[in-house]
């Protein structure tokens, strides 16, 4: 048996949450968009735009943080002999859950990570998002109590576990081969934003290093923002929640220190004030994350330790981002997209269908 994993203790997860909470606002200071030092959903959406899966000009950039999350987790998993290639737990369902999770997150304009970063930057709309997130996760726990599960994985070849890390490494190589050119919206095969959030980013290698560090720490600590809320609702367990709260507090203090805190509902960066749809978008995302067993960050970290199903969820999110912008489902600071409301309804119906029909010991 290996020694005790200190990152998995109460103080371990609080420490990891605090580190993320400090680094995210710092990344914002160094160039990332407002209250978006780190946003897994937004950054995957930017990657989708960079490779042309959607052509929303303001959100196109290969985000090195996402690449770092996966590769940092993989490094930790190999170092601590936790790399376990596995796959086969309803991957197609996870793909569609990933797509709808992304659509819900883009109606709110952020994943759970960004929801707390928005709150810690003073954006009151995040409260609606976090309430919606909790509501969606609560629905998910009702299904879990009734025996909902996606079935068992199987042990597989290491190659399967390398797929997402290799894809991420490939994206980074593309970035080096086709670097951003000042004033150009395209460089080789990659698209770059000239304005908007996609044009705002911290220095490339710094973003990558922070991503690698967070990926490493999150793999060790099992940091998960969905699990934080789920475990309280389901088991009354506050272990993961203490990490999530630590992130929020550290980010709030860092925002104060960096003069990035601005309280209010109107005029917040990359946010809208349609309360019902902030709530409902995150409810959809929360339910989809709960049914898939992890927040978008956690899915990246699991992918890094060899979980091929989590990797499929990630790809579902990236493809979902393509649909979200091509179909006019994603919100903008002006409000929800033309078909955003319909997409939330369809997404919720889909999640309920999955929750009601995937039960018992079919595994």
């Amino acid at each position: 048996m290996q020694g005790k994993n200190i990152f998995a203790t109460r103080w371990g997860i609080i420490g990891v949450g605090a580190v993320i909470g400090i680094l995210a606002p710092v990344l914002q200071k160094l160039g990332n968009p407002g209250n978006m030092g780190i946003c897994v959903a937004c950054f995957e959406r930017d990657i989708a735009g960079a490779v042309g899966l959607h052509r929303a000009g303001v959100v196109q950039f290969v985000r090195p943080e996402i690449i770092g999350f996966v590769l940092g987790s993989m490094i930790a998993a190999y170092l601590f002999k936790e790399f376990r290639p596995r796959v086969g737990s309803a991957p197609i369902v996870r793909f569609v859950l990933g797509a709808f999770a992304m659509i819900g997150a883009l109606v709110f304009l952020g994943c759970p990570w960004r929801a707390v970063l928005r709150l810690s930057g003073g954006d009151g709309n995040a409260i609606l998002g976090l309430l919606g997130l909790t509501f969606g996760i609560w629905i998910g726990t009702l299904f879990l109590k009734k025996g909902y599960n996606l079935g068992r994985t199987q042990v597989t070849h290491a190659t399967v576990g390398w797929m997402l890390p290799l894809l991420m490494a490939g994206l980074f190589v593309l970035m080096l081969v086709f670097p951003q050119i000042e004033g150009e919206a395209q460089s080789g095969v990659l698209f770059y934003s000239l304005k908007g959030p996609g044009a705002m980013h911290a220095p490339l290698f710094l973003s990558l290093i922070v991503g690698l560090g967070i990926g490493f720490l999150a793999q060790r600590s099992r940091f998960c923002t969905m699990g934080a809320i789920r475990d309280v609702v389901l088991f009354g367990q506050t272990h993961l929640l203490s990490g999530f709260i630590s992130l929020a507090v550290a980010a709030f203090l860092t925002n104060l220190a960096l003069s990035q805190f601005k309280a209010g509902f109107v005029g917040q960066p990359v946010a809208h004030t349609m309360h019902i749809w902030n709530f409902a978008g995150m409810a959809l995302a929360g339910l989809a994350f709960a049914l898939a067993g992890g927040c978008p960050g956690r899915q990246l970290f699991l992918s890094g330790e060899g979980d091929g199903d989590a990797a499929v969820f990630v790809l579902g999110m990236i493809v979902g981002a393509g649909f979200a912008h091509n179909f006019g489902l994603a919100s903008s600071p002006k409000g929800v997209g033309p078909h955003g409301i319909a997409a939330v309804v369809v997404g919720l119906l889909f999640c309920l269908f999955i929750g009601f029909t995937m039960r018992g010991k079919k595994a």
């Binding site: 376990r84 879990l144 599960n149 099992r222 789920r230 475990d231 088991f235 367990q237 992890g294």
Partner: protein, 72 residues
């Protein structure tokens, strides 16, 4: 005879749900839980200890771990 919970291949939070169900509803005082990831191992131990159980043994087995516990 110890009760057995086989949570191998199941993702979070199934191993914890299955363990807690057995702790609350099972008749046996001794339990063996099989898991296949370190995360599940930590989660099952944390949940069992929160229910007052004693972890008596944790050994690597196959692709994962065998956790032996006694109900409190």
């Amino acid at each position: 005879m110890a009760a057995t919970v086989d949570a191998r291949g199941l993702s979070c939070p199934q191993p914890v749900i299955m363990t807690l169900d057995e702790i609350k509803q099972g008749k046996e005082k001794e339990m063996i839980v099989f898991v296949d990831t370190d995360t599940s191992k930590e989660n099952v131990i944390r949940a069992a200890e929160s229910q007052g159980c004693q972890i008596t043994d944790v050994t690597p087995e196959g692709e994962g771990y065998r956790i032996a516990l006694t109900k409190g």
